[in-house]
């Protein structure tokens, strides 16, 4: 197929952003620019669905590959997708229009700039999941910092400057080491093309250091304990839409990076450091769950729950089992939907009551019944009730973990209980209880656009919770292939040692 579908996916939002830039900003509500943004992002979503439709689920090769000469012959612009990346692309294109619809409520000033930032962000996020060259990957990975910094800094809350700086500098510090590693890989193997690197393999003696350099970047982005502290700050201060983008997609870049690069390129090192990842993941799961229990701010609670959920993801990836990795990918998709939905739900009440403190709410069920229902679905999705996507992810991850290390799996299972505890408690305090606060009584139930966005998220959470086959089908072959390569490399290396 000659049509460069991936490049179109990457470029379309940017073109839309340019379009918005040059539209005359009509005074008042800036409606035109919003419709342009919505149209572009929906078009991109449809394009990605088409991509999913023509995507060959049984093939293990990279598909829709585009390879162009870029950096004077030695680094190519190369994009392509396989079963691991396709779902993330769809998640990105799905979340973006939802963000743009929700802009209504939260963003009052500089709407045009905000839409441009979101669309540019979408370009970079899709780019991350498509790129098949380490340098191109790094480019997209880092470039995302710029719009996100502005989103937090311009439209954020009170401590936005602090949070924006923390977010930017933390992630940048993690990433520069990855740049050193990428350049080193170029000089060790003579290429940064991921496909070629899969074939060539990287000599065992370099792998540990390179793995650590990549890890430093991904661990910050995931975020793993103890470098997770930027996340609660960024989430709390970012506008609702910013939190949604951050939680739903930005965090997934690192999980994706772990599977694609850490496992794919450095199997021996990954095996060596498995225990490290287990320990950090377990701390993340248990410790941040406990921290989440104590939070008084709703957004902060969800932020900490994100850290715990991402702990499951990293745990699942490094079990190196079919179930574990599939579960991790599924968990990431699920978390992308659920956390986006939770942040939007918090946004709904925040917009009406202008506080995120949990104890300022209570008894919302009596005045906002529709809100109570959707919020319940998301809560249950987050704690992993069977019938929601959250369950399948966690279940598969724990299955993988039990196969490898029973102790780790048992501790991780504790996290599921804690997860249920803090989410249900949150739900109880906000939605149930006595309706005894006068100022809450004037709160209105969901508006139309909120119903649209929230139900757009309810549907996939429940649908794929009951019927995960379509997602699993897309992932399966590629995960199997990744694991085969991984084990093949390990065995080869052991044979060399003997």
């Amino acid at each position: 197929m000659n049509f460069p579908i991936l490049s179109s996916l990457i470029l379309l939002p940017t073109i839309g952003a340019l379009f918005i830039l040059f539209t005359k900003s009509s005074t008042g509500k800036y409606q035109s620019s919003k419709y342009v943004a919505l149209f572009i992002s929906l078009a991109n979503f449809l394009l990605s669905l088409y991509l999913w439709y023509v995507f060959d689920k049984d093939s293990v090769d990279f598909q829709f590959v585009e390879n162009r000469e870029w950096l004077s012959g030695f680094i190519n612009y190369k994009v392509g997708i396989d079963g691991i990346s396709i779902l993330f692309i769809i998640l990105t294109t799905f979340i973006t229009p939802i963000c743009i619809i929700s802009v209504n409520a939260t963003i009052t000033n500089r709407l045009k700039d905000f839409l441009i930032a979101i669309l540019i962000m979408e370009t970079f996020m899709i780019g991350v999941f498509c790129s098949l060259d380490l340098v191109v990957f790094y480019l997209f990975f880092e470039a995302g910092l710029i719009p996100m910094f502005l989103i937090i800094g311009i439209w954020g809350g009170e401590r936005r400057v602090y949070s924006a700086f923390k977010f930017f500098l933390y992630t940048l510090l993690g990433s520069v080491l990855m740049l050193v590693a990428i350049i080193s890989i170029y000089w060790i193997t003579g290429t940064t093309d991921v496909e070629k690197l899969y074939e060539l393999g990287i000599q065992a003696e370099y792998q540990n250091l390179l793995w650590l350099a990549f890890f430093s970047s991904f661990a910050v982005k995931t975020p793993m304990w103890p470098v997770h502290t930027w996340l609660p700050d960024a989430h709390v201060e970012a506008p609702t839409v910013g939190s949604v983008l951050l939680a739903a997609i930005l965090l997934k870049m690192a999980g994706y990076g772990f599977i694609r690069f850490s496992l794919g390129l450095f199997p021996i090192a990954s095996e060596n450091f498995t225990m490290l990842v287990y320990v950090l993941s377990l701390i993340a799961i248990i410790y941040t769950s406990l921290v989440a229990l104590m939070q008084e701010d709703m957004k902060k609670l969800i932020a900490y729950s994100s850290v715990a959920h991402m702990g499951f993801v990293t745990l699942g990836i490094f079990t190196m089992t079919q179930q574990g990795i599939e579960g991790s990918i599924f968990q990431m998709i699920s978390h992308g939907l659920v956390s986006a939905a939770l942040f939007l739900s918090v946004g709904v009440v925040y917009e009406r009551h202008h506080t995120r403190l949990i104890n300022k709410y209570g008894g919302l069920v009596s005045i906002m019944p529709r809100y109570a229902i959707v919020f319940m679905v998301f809560t249950l999705g987050s704690l992993g009730l069977p019938g929601t996507t959250g369950f399948i992810g966690e279940f598969l991850i724990l299955m993988g973990a039990f196969e490898k290390n029973i102790l780790v799996a048992m501790i991780a299972s504790l996290g599921v209980i804690l997860g249920a505890a803090y989410m249900l408690w949150l739900f109880k305090r906000v939605v149930f209880g006595e309706m005894n606060k006068q100022e809450l009584k004037s709160m209105k139930d969901l508006k139309t656009f909120e119903i649209i966005t929230l139900s757009a998220l309810v549907i996939p959470i429940l649908f794929f919770g009951f019927y995960p086959e379509p997602l699993m089908n897309s992932i399966e072959a590629s995960v199997e292939n990744t694991l085969n390569m991984y084990n093949f490399d390990l065995i080869n290396n052991l044979a060399l040692k003997d």
Binding site: W70, L71, I146
Partner: protein, 471 residues
């Protein structure tokens, strides 16, 4: 018989300088005329240099003057940025009452000196060029003679520069003494064996050059001179002498002292690391934008030198690419600075940028692009500049230099972010006048688009630069 056609650009610019001087003396109120004529003569000069650049390596005047790919490329970017410096500064010098005939003539003489430096292949020719450009720069720095800071900066630059020139001369004479020649190629041939005399010579010469490039620990003059000089002169300082000094650096390290790289490599690595870290840390507390950009240029020179320390063609090319991108970023930054004008007064403190984005969205966007690019964030041009340098550095397995350099970019990112914060997050101030200066707008537009769109076709510069080989 010397073929004068090859030094046509130098002859042309010398004649122009003398002619303009005569015009200035005999014709009253001819300052603007001379300014425009000088700009035009720079364009002609650029055309002449490009016309010559297809030629091979040519030695002139008993091998004391050399025209090769390196010198041609450096001269092109030198004169090219000279044109933009003239273009952006024209309005500025009128408003602060500096529109005198000497100003453009001094700039031209300084450029002539730099061209001689770039092409020199002999210690004496090199020194002549160096002094010609420095002498013009002393005067330019203190050109705003009613201003205390400007006169101070001129004096400071003069005293310190004279000291460094003295050290440089001492280094030159030591080198001459121990290698029995002033010709670069001859020095290379004669200095095959190690001796302390030449080592000391290298050290002194490097000190002098590091001063010109404002690398740590010889950077002390830069912040004061940058702040005190008129902004158009600061722009000149930030770009042109750096181009000339860097190409002389390349020349010295890879022609006469090529055999002694184990002697100078450590020095360059040290200077480079010190500059990167110091420039990044010291800029954090600054309040004046010109002073801040002085520290930022110190750290940028550290990166350029990191490329030179690798002893490889790749490294030299990466340094040259670095300085090319660096000059565009500086042009863009200073163009923004020239736009901060209200009631014939120019503003240059960071606080003056507060809330700029609300009333000047385009200007703020340009600044945003420039600052992120200076910080080296992809996909902007500044990232590629650093990428090439680190590509070369890691090729030689100099991991320490690479990691320190990249960590310094994180520190540096902090103060660039601070400016962006002030522009975008802080409460707004009074509106600035919209600029009616076309030259300034064009410069800003070209440089911003260059920075923004560099990633689309990044091999453009690399392909030209890859012709420059020294080893």
């Amino acid at each position: 018989m010397v073929n004068f056609q090859y030094i046509l650009p130098e002859i042309f610019i010398s004649i122009s300088i003398m002619l303009f001087l005569l015009v200035g003396v005999f014709k009253k109120n001819s300052a603007s005329l001379i300014y425009n004529l000088s700009s035009i003569s720079l364009v002609v000069l650029l055309a002449l240099i490009i016309n010559l650049s297809s030629l091979d390596t040519i030695y002139l005047f008993n091998d004391s003057y050399l025209i090769d790919n390196l010198s041609n490329y450096m001269k092109v970017i030198l004169v090219g940025s000279g044109i933009f410096v003239m273009l952006t500064g024209s309005k500025y010098i009128q408003i602060i009452n500096l529109n005198k005939i000497e100003y453009p003539i001094l700039i031209l003489s300084s450029i002539l000196g730099m061209m001689i430096m770039i092409s020199s292949n002999d210690l004496i020719v090199f020194y002549m060029g160096l002094e010609l450009q420095s002498l013009a720069l002393y005067v330019l720095a203190s050109f705003n003679r009613d201003n205390l800071l400007s006169t101070e900066s001129g004096l400071k630059y003069f005293v310190l520069s004279a000291l460094s020139s003295g050290l440089l001369l001492y280094g030159c004479s030591l080198t001459y003494g121990f290698s029995e020649s002033t010709n670069f190629d001859q020095i290379l041939i004669n200095s095959t064996e190690f001796n302390y005399g030449t080592t000391f010579g290298i050290v002194f010469i490097l000190v002098g050059l590091a001063f010109k490039i404002s690398a740590v620990p010889f950077h002390m003059w830069a912040p004061d001179v940058y702040q005190g000089s008129p902004t158009s002169v600061t722009l000149f300082f930030a770009i042109l002498p750096k181009i000339a000094a860097l190409s002389v650096f390349i020349k010295f390290l890879y022609t006469p002292f090529a055999n002694m790289n184990d002697q100078w490599q450590t020095i360059i690595v040290f200077i480079s690391i010190a500059s990167m870290i110091f420039g990044a840390v010291a800029a954090i507390g600054q309040k004046n934008l010109k002073r801040l950009i002085a520290y930022s240029s110190i750290s940028h020179m550290g990166y350029a030198l990191a490329g030179l320390s690798t002893v490889s063609n790749q490294g030299i090319q990466s340094s040259i690419t670095y300085i090319s991108i660096y000059l565009v970023m500086n042009l863009a930054f200073f163009s923004c600075l020239f736009m901060l004008k209200r009631n014939d007064k120019y503003y240059e403190n960071i606080e003056d940028l507060s809330g700029l984005s609300k009333k000047h969205p385009i200007l703020s966007f340009s600044l945003l692009i420039v600052l992120f690019s200076l910080a080296g964030i992809p996909p902007l041009a500044g990232f590629f500049a650093k990428f090439y340098v680190f590509l070369a550095v890691i090729e030689q397995s100099m991991y320490f230099l690479a990691i320190v350099g990249l960590l310094a970019t994180v520190i540096a990112a902090f103060y660039y972010l601070r400016i962006i914060k002030i522009i975008y997050f802080d409460p707004e101030k009074e509106k600035y006048e919209t600029s009616d200066n076309l030259g300034l707008k064009i410069t800003l537009a070209i440089s911003t688009i260059f920075i923004l769109a560099y990633f689309i076709y990044p091999s453009g510069i690399t392909e030209i630069v890859s012709k420059i080989t020294m080893i």
